[in-house]
Symmetry: C2
Subunit: 358 residues, 2 copies
Amino acid sequence: MTDPGVGVAAYGVDVGGTKTLGVAIGPDGAVLAERRVQTPSQAAATAAGGNGAGDSADAGRAHPGEAVADAVAAMLLELQRDVGAGGGHAVTTAAPVGIGIAGLVDSGGVLRFSPNLAAASGVAIGDLVSERIGEALAVTGVHAYNDANCTGLAELVLGAARGTRDGIVVTLGTGIGGALIVEGRVYVGVRGIAGEVGHMVIDPNGPPCTCGKRGCWERYASGGGLARLAREAALAGTLHESVRLAGGDPELVTGEHVTAAAADGDVEALRVMGELGWWVGLGLANLVAILDPERIVVGGGLGHAGEMLLEPARHALARLVVGARAREAVPVVKAALGVQGGAVGAALAARGEAPGAG
Amino acid sequence: MTDPGVGVAAYGVDVGGTKTLGVAIGPDGAVLAERRVQTPSQAAATAAGGNGAGDSADAGRAHPGEAVADAVAAMLLELQRDVGAGGGHAVTTAAPVGIGIAGLVDSGGVLRFSPNLAAASGVAIGDLVSERIGEALAVTGVHAYNDANCTGLAELVLGAARGTRDGIVVTLGTGIGGALIVEGRVYVGVRGIAGEVGHMVIDPNGPPCTCGKRGCWERYASGGGLARLAREAALAGTLHESVRLAGGDPELVTGEHVTAAAADGDVEALRVMGELGWWVGLGLANLVAILDPERIVVGGGLGHAGEMLLEPARHALARLVVGARAREAVPVVKAALGVQGGAVGAALAARGEAPGAG
């Protein structure tokens, strides 16, 4: 699909709560090389530095974003080697780098707030990476973006949202991310931080969220929400197959055990997936009422569970949206780009495909 | 402000759940004439007709939207007389008519669903009004829009949202309406029905809503929500001044008694307004997380309560929005156009100020 000799158009790195995935893409968006590592842990990041807010005065000292920046810079050099050596692609021209990261990343590329990467809040992650790369890699700039907006951009340009004028892309992973597509572009709001749909409160008396509030949608409809439903069901004496997969201890049942059992057709596990889908549909119904989209694309780790999640989600959406009987159903489809979506989108954003997300 | 002899640029009528307000506006948006009547009641509307869905086959028979259409047509003729006779304005040129109505009004002007005007659902209200006007009034077209989108347009063009690129206008009345401003225009979504922020569910186990769901934001943060809070507080033995205003019977305390007592500085009533403001702020926090707006404008009957509501709402928003400490406060301001906003916006929409809302 990609000729040897094709140049690298951009690098993209998706820094997740647990994994970091990087790609080099060609001019057509095709992935020329891919790398994955564990995201440096919060503990390691904190141990590595102080607690500075990342202003220029302490640029010389170690601070919490440095471990992440080290990992990203190392990954970029590996990607360059991959495409240059084994890949045989031209790497002589400078290419831009995009970094997708969970949390509020403003239009200046500063990570304002990240529930999953709290220690790195306040950091201009792009600048840190840029310093580390130095002359070792020819780049035209390093920019940071919200990870879900990157996934949204990738789905819009190359995936399941292609041709959509007004749509919503949600990523159901550890938490929930969102990207709003408005008039054919990813809409990022006035400060660049729109789309935080996971922190829409759907029950002010609900369980505490990592963001400090209670009852955010992502407490119910994410991997974390599935883990809670799974644990409750297992401790209530159901979910036998999932408990078996967990080695017999109901305390050890995770979302992965439930999705595995459900994929094998286990009725009890499918019931839990149905409950999860109801919560997904509830939040989507809120978003549809507010935004009246043409299409909804569901990605992220849980999104890959596919129909056993999307089918009950569609059902709930159709019942819960305002004026349900008077409006056409909004298609809810699975994301097309899988786990690479965030990294590919970060690369596309760096190439300038996201005018608002600069 | 308006010279005799200035022509009518457009007519606008806001059909609310209880009142219908119409205006004729000049080229600069100034109101040349205003009329108000009670909106024909559901009972009267149902008695007047059958239950047809308004398709062309039964256009000759009476059906539920006819009472509303009769009232709007009569009001338009009165407005024409007002500006022509007493007002001395030129009415020889044809002008467009805009009608704002609560509920889902699609891009074709059909009222898809209206919790407050259920009997009129499915009706092309503009066509019904058009038939009734006939040759009696020179109009270039009659179009229907969502009422809150009209208010949003009026605030954007002439009011408190002037110059806003990305913003939110919410109307807190019997229910809650919303208009989203995106890149300087009112965003109405793919089918023209975006902005139904009042039907965002904030507690799936909450009180039943007129839309058929449970725990919609408008159950908490509207006039209906205030009535509930007031009743609860009065029956719990507090709210003494409001109970006095209600003639001494706690069962008879309404939202109006509480706003009146609060306006006079009554501490118990102000506490209830504070609680109402908390619910307003909770919903606004959800909208800010999703949309990252530059400014929020609050209108509608309750919005006119002003600071005693907006102050606690700002407080709650600042605490409840995701990443609260890492983002600038979003200004929350009172709507500028008061009760005329919806009608003026309907007139502006008819003049073509709302490209998406046609």
